[in-house]
Subunit: 165 residues, 2 copies
DNA sequence: ATCAACTGTCTTGACATCGAGATAGGTTGC
DNA sequence: GCAACCTATCTCGATGTCAAGACAGTTGAT
């Protein structure tokens, strides 16, 4: 089945036959798929009155295990946003009572962000919903294909995640 | 090589062993890779004093071929933004002299957005830069692997691009 | 001890995006 | 012809994000 990127690549080959646009076959699909996923996630979370950015922060804390706390800095590397954005996110989540800010006992510059009980419940509930939706999207592929795809993507993400970028 | 998603999945398996989090192996990588790509693109385009959103619009018009014009509606489906966003983008590009707005002769509700000569040059210059950068990122994979990856991604994007979503 | 360099978090202002609704023009069936 | 519906684009207000810089606290070299 053809997709929008097939059309995009065909158009470039017509307009700029001098260029090799093969990289777009992979990376334009990654960007476009991510945008589609964002929209789908926004819809899935709206049942739980949660925004995608709230989900990202709450689940990062949930994954940390008891006592469900991380520094803003640790949250940055997991969510790939800037520090100003994270400060703002924590403010809003705190105002909603889903997290609380505690002083870091071992570094007086530092802060620890801790999930409240309600925050933990919201994270748990919405994760199940997200997984159901993602499973539906991935039903296009066999289990073996999903494994292959994950492995290929890992080769591309690993350099970003390991070399400090 | 391990990436951040491996750590994320391992954490969920420890914290929520009752859930099957396999979908995250694929889709969390797609989302994170897209964010990394955004940052890399922003950097690559800054040499040409161009923002990623400007690139997206200018190249959509460039791909259309002479006379390099499309309706705002056609630009929407290619760039996956809302109509309000597109109006705003066209306004700003027009103010910079990179596109111009013309009335659609066949539909008086409609508008045609046309690339100026300078807009076409900027699109052509920045495309070459983007491709060079993307090639570097994809050097992690063999040509055959890139082909496989593109094919697998196409299976996921095709439903979004074809069923009106 | 002290000073310079570094780190972690927050502040600020500019700006791009979204969603909902407004407006004007087109289309269809009767 | 005309009424009801549809479509294309734009307007507006709210909001989330970023980049750059401020600030307090920490670390390492001397």
């Amino acid at each position: 089945m053809e997709d929008e990127v097939d059309r995009l690549v065909a158009a470039w080959r017509r307009e700029r036959p001098d260029l090799d646009v093969e990289p777009l076959e992979v990376l334009s699909r990654v960007s476009r798929l991510a945008r589609h996923l964002d929209r789908a996630r926004r819809l899935a979370f709206s049942e739980h009155q949660l925004e995608p950015w709230e989900f990202d922060v709450l689940t990062a804390l949930r994954r940390a295990g008891t006592p469900y706390q991380l520094s803003p800095g640790q949250l940055l590397t997991q969510t790939l946003v800037t520090s100003g954005t994270m400060t703002n996110r924590i403010d809003r989540l705190a105002k909603k009572g889903l997290v609380e800010r505690l002083p870091d006992p071992s570094d007086r510059r530092g802060v620890l962000v801790r999930l409240t009980d309600e925050g933990r419940d919201r994270a748990d509930q919405s994760l199940a919903g997200l997984l159901a939706q993602e499973r539906a999207i991935l039903a296009e592929l066999s289990r073996a294909q999903r494994g292959e795809l994950a492995a290929l993507l890992r080769q591309l993400t690993a350099p970003f995640d390991n070399i400090p970028g």
